[in-house]
Amino acid sequence: MTVQAIAGLNLEVDAEGFLTNPDDWNRDVAQAIAAELGIELTDRHWDVIEFVRKDFSETGTVPTLRRITKVGGVPTKEIYKLFPKGPAKKVAKIAGLSKPTGCI
């Protein structure tokens, strides 16, 4: 476990930079992590992030990309456009959740 300064806060992250405590997250933290990944957050990014946060708080698991598409209503093509090259992990990381482990 390491501590990393993100958006002016000292936050605990795992070896790959995912927040270990989802409650440490706020919108500034999301912006900072996104910037590090080379992503500038637009309203549409926020739709995805907010859905993922909400779904996680309700189910206790990081939603799969398929769930973001089916339940969150963001088409696959768009998710890959918003979070190019490895959307599953990028979304989870920016949303302050742990690394997704599913197969789908």
Partner: protein, 163 residues
């Protein structure tokens, strides 16, 4: 910290080609699952469907792929039962239900997802000729019908999986 897989997109250069040569339910899904997983990881994916693997992208067959206990000791069913009428259908429907329960999409939806995620889908020209199939018989998302030499060009520098 690992260089790859940390969500920073470092696997941008990695390329995976999957050759699907079997059309049974249990041989179709590994290719689909791995292709989609690779795309989710930011890996470039090309799928090549040949021989019985064409069933996976054949509009008429893709929704009715089957699994058989015949010659498959892993299914935990005496092989002799596999020759009885209805057993293949039953085994297939059981597997299909399990797949649904795990929230894995059906074959056509999986292919659409892979296509929308930027994966490329190609069918084998020779196998299509053998089975008297035309491009129109294939799932609309299939990018092109290609020959083995073109596949060799495409797979240059890629990791190749033969299923």
């Amino acid at each position: 910290m690992s260089e790859n897989g940390n969500g920073n997109g470092n696997s941008a250069e990695r390329k995976l080609c999957i050759i699907c040569s079997k059309g049974t339910l249990d041989m179709a899904y590994p290719g689909l699952v791995l292709a989609n997983a690779a795309l989710m990881e930011g890996i470039d994916v090309t799928m090549f469907f040949t021989f019985w693997g064409l069933d996976i992208i054949n509009k008429k067959k893709m929704k009715h792929l089957r699994a058989t206990p015949l010659g498959n000791p892993s299914m935990g069913m005496p092989n002799i039962l596999g020759v009885l009428p209805g057993v293949t259908a039953m085994a297939s429907s059981m597997m299909q239900k399990t797949i649904e329960k795990l929230d894995f999409p059906p074959v056509d939806e999986y292919l659409e997802m892979i296509h929308d995620a930027g994966g490329k889908l190609y069918s084998c020209r020779m196998a299509m000729d053998m089975m008297h199939l035309e491009k129109d018989d294939l799932f609309d998302e299939v990018d092109d019908v290609i020959g083995a030499m073109e596949f060799m060009e495409m797979s240059e520098g890629a990791q190749v999986l033969f299923i």
